[in-house]
């Protein structure tokens, strides 16, 4: 479970303080798929980085399962907006990186890594280097790498933002399947409403800078969802209208 209390983030720049995140209160239940929806540049990555421990909040605290977050740690898995695979390692090398630096013996970590490589559908590409993979395959490897540490929570920052439309749909379905298979508490950032409605148990809509929570939607549609189901389309429309008004 993730809890953010009174999160604020102000960056110091040449023209004074720059308030990016203003007062975020957020609770994510165990195994809940939470989508943070917000316009570009509104501070989504900053919020995620504070939960990850990569960025220190100016005010407020983050706890994961009751433990305060102060630095990066392997119980929080991250899938990034930009490609963040280690380019000098193969797919296997990337996926087993986490268990390796944590001192898991070779045989055990190989088995874990192989399990997740299979789960994301990359079997046969274990020895490929990232440059040899397509965009979608890179993000599959990124998801497997995050899973291989068996994290409590998964933080995903627009992981499909750079993919073409076709691949993006495919990856949404794949992520849904993977998550159903091995549930985790997820915070997933996107600026695509369709993607949000497809994946989320709950959508939190952020208002533009300084960022705060504007609205929340519970999505109770059965999974896997259908992009053209009337109820799906109705929700998509409703959220789109609400978002348009906040901008």
């Amino acid at each position: 479970m993730i809890e953010c209390k009174g999160l604020k983030k102000t960056f110091q720049s040449e023209n004074g303080a720059f308030e990016v995140v203003k007062n975020i209160d957020l609770k994510v239940k165990e195994n809940e798929f939470l989508v943070l929806f917000g316009p570009g540049q509104c501070g989504k990555t900053t919020i995620l980085n504070m939960i990850a421990g990569l960025e220190t909040p100016s005010e407020g605290i983050v706890t994961v399962n009751g433990k305060e977050v102060h630095e990066p740690g392997p119980e929080r898995g991250v899938v990034y907006q930009t490609i963040s695979l280690f380019p000098w390692l193969t797919v296997m090398g990337n996926v087993e990186y986490g268990p390796k630096v944590r001192g898991i013996p070779k045989e055990k970590r190989r088995a874990t890594a192989q399990h997740y490589i299979d789960m994301v559908g990359l079997q046969g590409f274990e020895k490929s280097f990232p440059v040899q993979l397509s965009g979608g395959m890179k993000q599959r490897a990124g998801i497997a790498r995050a899973y291989a540490n068996n994290p409590i929570v998964m933080l995903m920052d627009e992981p499909f933002g750079a993919l073409d439309a076709q691949t993006r749909y495919l990856m949404q379905k794949e992520l849904e399947r993977i998550w159903e298979q091995e549930k985790r508490t997820v915070v997933f950032v996107t600026n695509n409403i369709e993607e949000a409605v497809y994946l989320a148990d709950r959508i939190v809509v952020l208002a533009n800078r300084p960022t705060q929570v504007k609205a929340e939607y519970k999505i109770n549609l059965p999974r896997p969802r259908n992009y053209v189901d009337p109820e799906f389309l109705r929700l998509r429309m409703e959220i789109t209208d609400a978002v348009d008004k906040t901008l």
């Binding site: 930009t82 280690f86 380019p87 000098w88 944590r102 280097f129 990232p130 790498r145």
Partner: protein
């Protein structure tokens, strides 16, 4: 970037053609102009070069001279590589280490190695140590600078990813900063092998009893143009081979950096 076999052959042929044309022009100039009174032609030089494998110049055959020079380069170059990569990567990675060492390094870097000759003779005498020291200096500054630039330019997202996956700071340094800097480090190592090879010649010209640099100074002392050119030929060929080997090693170790 896989080149077709045909393209490769064409490239080699073009290279051989220009070398052949150069040698022909040289031979012609020696035979038909007054250049012939100053220096021998390529046929004479290449014949002497081949003879030098069995007939010693001074106390050593040409391959022994090359061996002496190469061993001097290798010892000093390896030390420079270890020190340079270590210092460069650490400076690029840690702002405190950078603040301490970078200013000193920036002052030493622009001084050409040969400017250190008088001081190094005072410090280390005329023996091997002075040669090692000069070669070390000539390799060290390029290797350090490139390693530093490499470590500076590591994508912070990759360092964050490594920390999120459970790596401590030392592990991040060894498993992310160092490999990410490799293409830069190799660029430095490549330049440095050439400057080291050039410097060993200069160092041996100061004082030595063997080595390719000695081949040239001893020829100067006896006014033997043919021997000078044999020395130059040996230096050129070995320099070319060293650069080619380095490029091969880089292609193997940094293949992740190039798309197919």
């Amino acid at each position: 970037m896989i080149k077709s076999q045909k393209e490769k052959i064409q490239r080699v042929l073009a290279g051989l053609f220009s070398i052949g044309a150069f040698l022909a022009l040289w031979q012609w100039a020696v035979v038909s102009t007054t250049l012939g009174q100053l220096m021998p032609g390529p046929i004479t030089v290449i014949t002497s070069f081949i003879q030098a494998f069995s007939v010693p110049i001074g106390t050593c055959t040409i391959q022994q001279h090359v061996g002496w020079s190469l061993s001097r380069v290798m010892i000093a170059y390896l030390v420079a590589a270890v020190v340079g990569i270590g210092l460069g990567v650490l400076m690029g990675w840690n702002p405190k280490i950078e603040a301490i060492f970078k200013p000193l390094y920036d002052i030493i870097r622009p001084i050409p190695p040969i400017a250190w000759i008088p001081l190094s003779i005072v410090w280390f005498g005329l023996g091997e140590m002075t040669k090692y020291f000069l070669i070390f200096l000539s390799a060290f500054s390029n290797i350090t600078l490139n390693a530093y630039e490499g470590a500076k330019s590591v994508d912070p997202v990759l360092m964050g990813a490594s920390r999120m996956l459970g790596a401590n700071r030392t592990q991040t340094l060894l498993t992310v900063v160092l490999p990410a800097s490799m293409p830069f480090i190799f660029a430095g190592l490549q330049v440095a092998i050439s400057t080291s090879w050039a410097t060993v010649v200069a160092a041996e010209m100061v004082r030595s009893t063997e080595g390719v640099g000695w081949v040239i100074v001893s020829a100067q002392d006896t006014n033997d143009m043919n021997q000078t050119l044999v020395g130059i030929l040996a230096i050129g060929i070995v320099g070319f081979i060293l650069a080619t080997i380095m490029r091969g090693v880089e292609t193997r170790l940094c293949k992740w950096n190039k798309s197919e």
